[in-house]
Symmetry: none
Subunit: 156 residues, 2 copies
Amino acid sequence: MKKTVLVYGALGGVLIAALKFVEYRFLILERSLEIYGGIVALIFSALGIWLGLKLTRTRQTVVVREVPVLVEVQVGAREAGPFTPNATRLQQLGITPRELDILEAMAAGLSNREIAAQLFVSENTVKTHAARLFDKLSARRRTQAVQRAKAAGLIP
Amino acid sequence: MKKTVLVYGALGGVLIAALKFVEYRFLILERSLEIYGGIVALIFSALGIWLGLKLTRTRQTVVVREVPVLVEVQVGAREAGPFTPNATRLQQLGITPRELDILEAMAAGLSNREIAAQLFVSENTVKTHAARLFDKLSARRRTQAVQRAKAAGLIP
DNA sequence: CGCAAAATCATCCATTCGGGTGACGCGCGA
DNA sequence: TCGCGCGTCACCCGAATGGATGATTTTGCG
């Protein structure tokens, strides 16, 4: 909600400026009021449309058609075997093996408590590992951490 | 669709009339140019924004023709073009377009508050959508929801 | 038009997360 | 042997999240 207000505020500012500008150029002409209004209206509706589109990008219409899929295609050269995390990136980020454990469990959608139970440690321990992970991954939430870890190739 | 066009047409007419009206009333006043222009600009930018949002909302227009799907494994989702969520599964789970929005934002690691800001709704709304999502995905946590959504091919 | 689904917003409450801090033990290498 | 990295655990506190409802508005469709 605050954002909308800000947008409108900025819009207002631009508007005033534009008005001042246009005003000086058209003030000479006599019957320019309609033209003036029309132009302003056009400009601003275009602007509005553009703004609306801009704000809600990636809103592509989903035209989906189900096609019978018989065989799964191994698209990329994804190895069929077990996933091996990118060791280079692991070292770059300074992520320890234990932290990787927590990361994987986290990506599986487990809560701290469940991770603790699975790894036979206390919930507090999981939390410290998690905190260090967030720090190293520059994440503030676990979903974000998972997302970045996936992007970095640390987890499948 | 035709209806909407008609509505827009009528709206345009009304606006023109309103413009004329306002014009005559303000023509007497001397320094009304800014006010007049401002009003017009405001109206039309608002209209434009609304229109833009409206137009880009035509998602889900074409729905699926159900085809028996035998095997369907979403392996290593290579970005071979824009991702299209599995509409069949979407319908099976009864997930609405808006909920999908929340799901995507959630997968991107955003907090409820951030999602609310991005989609221009209140945090409470995001929470209700999220709650319904958890219900439909049988998830208890957002990480779990994301994980299952990925597994179901709902998100990249 | 009128219904049903979807979307929006709200409130209350319990749980979970995340941040910060401090501490202890173990193994390894300088 | 000492320092250091790593793993472990604890406590506190504020913020975020999830659950349960209820309500209203918008929208799509017959």
